[in-house]
Point group: C2
């Protein structure tokens, strides 16, 4: 099978290859923007909703699930990469399952949560649309869907500011990484529309600042399910 | 009376001084980004709501009211600067009144509209807060409040990305302009919160692009009143 280089499949392919160095990078705190700003930003955004149960979409090696479990929250982490789920399970602090966004979009997760969260893990095109379409049935009444992602206006790079595939890069990461994943860029307009079109009211759009660089480190979108 | 240089009062003071050159600049199409992008963006945003009645906040010399009136919409334009209101009245195409945001915030406009719109005219601090607080009582059920403003991420300049007063500038305008108005910068996070905190659901955040420069020309926020 030939792999389409800019596709949801290519993203998953890349993460299969990089599961091990990624686990090391996260657990050893190699990613400065995460340590300094964005880890705290996503934890705060979730905790501010006072959830009893959380679905962590694209949980990776599980750090966020562990952090939330430590606060007494029931967390289910799902990821499409078995190696990452194995790493998460080995540390405990939550339930972890191998599950793709496509499977969730097809209704295979028959559970409801107070909050669904995705931390820099909504990188695809159709897979993300499918998740948004399914999301209302995955959330309890008044549930929230929280997404942290690269701030589009800052992360657009040299591309025209419009939705479309961008090439990936491991710049700043160790040489253990290979085959960077492409990602489907969405403008802020498109992120807001994803919420608005799928039954959500955008409660907040947080813009965490890098404390030294004074640059935007990310954007955190918090949508509440409309009754 | 000493004028506080970074204040809502200083904004109004500046516009009193620049009413005449502003009228000329708008009517002769001197402001390229308006001609190319943002005039059309705000008209489209309003028309897309199918309103029968519109309140144009900070209407200036009245071009937007005229454009909407030409589409069969009843428009009331208000502005704090008598000279601008006089200019608007002289061209017709809508009703125009001298009224400050503070007066509206104090409940002096006892009318309801399908849409309230402000095109690059929410420049102050407390005055804008007062408007948002009053807005639900100025809108009919399912009414919308539409704001076009400088895109914060692009318009922040050399300042730290956080709410606060910025100095004004007439760079790019003719020498007939003087005493540029300061403006109170708000992050996107703060704009979204203004809507969310005052009974609105943010339906859309449009990000018009400059067709040649491929840069963001503005942001258009469309909030719908929650029942």
């Amino acid at each position: 099978m030939t792999l389409e280089p800019l596709s949801d499949t290519a993203i998953v392919h890349s993460w299969h290859k990089n599961a091990q160095p990624w686990t090391t990078a996260v657990r050893e705190g190699h990613i400065q923007s995460r340590k300094l700003i964005t880890d705290r930003a996503i934890i705060d955004a979730v905790v501010d909703q006072h959830p009893r149960s959380v679905l962590d979409l694209g949980c990776g090696e599980g750090w966020l699930a562990r952090a939330l479990s430590a606060k007494g929250i029931d967390v289910l982490g799902i990821d499409v990469v078995p190696e990452l789920v194995k790493q998460a399970q080995s540390m405990g602090g939550g339930q972890f399952e191998v599950l793709s966004y496509e499977e969730i979009g097809a209704g295979k997760l028959n559970q409801q949560f107070d909050v669904a969260v995705s931390n820099f893990a909504l990188l695809g095109h159709e897979s993300v649309l499918g998740l948004f379409q399914e999301m209302p049935s995955l959330l309890a009444p008044n549930g929230s869907f929280i997404v942290q992602t690269i701030h589009p206006v800052v992360g657009c790079g040299a591309y025209r500011y419009e939705d479309g595939w961008h090439e990936g890069s491991w710049a700043g990461f160790s040489h253990d990484f290979s085959d960077p994943a492409p990602w489907y860029f969405r403008t802020l307009e498109s992120w807001v529309r994803l919420y608005s079109d799928h039954g959500f009211r955008l409660k907040e759009m947080r813009e965490p600042l890098h404390p030294q660089l004074e640059k935007l480190a990310s954007v955190v979108l918090i949508g509440a399910l409309i009754d």
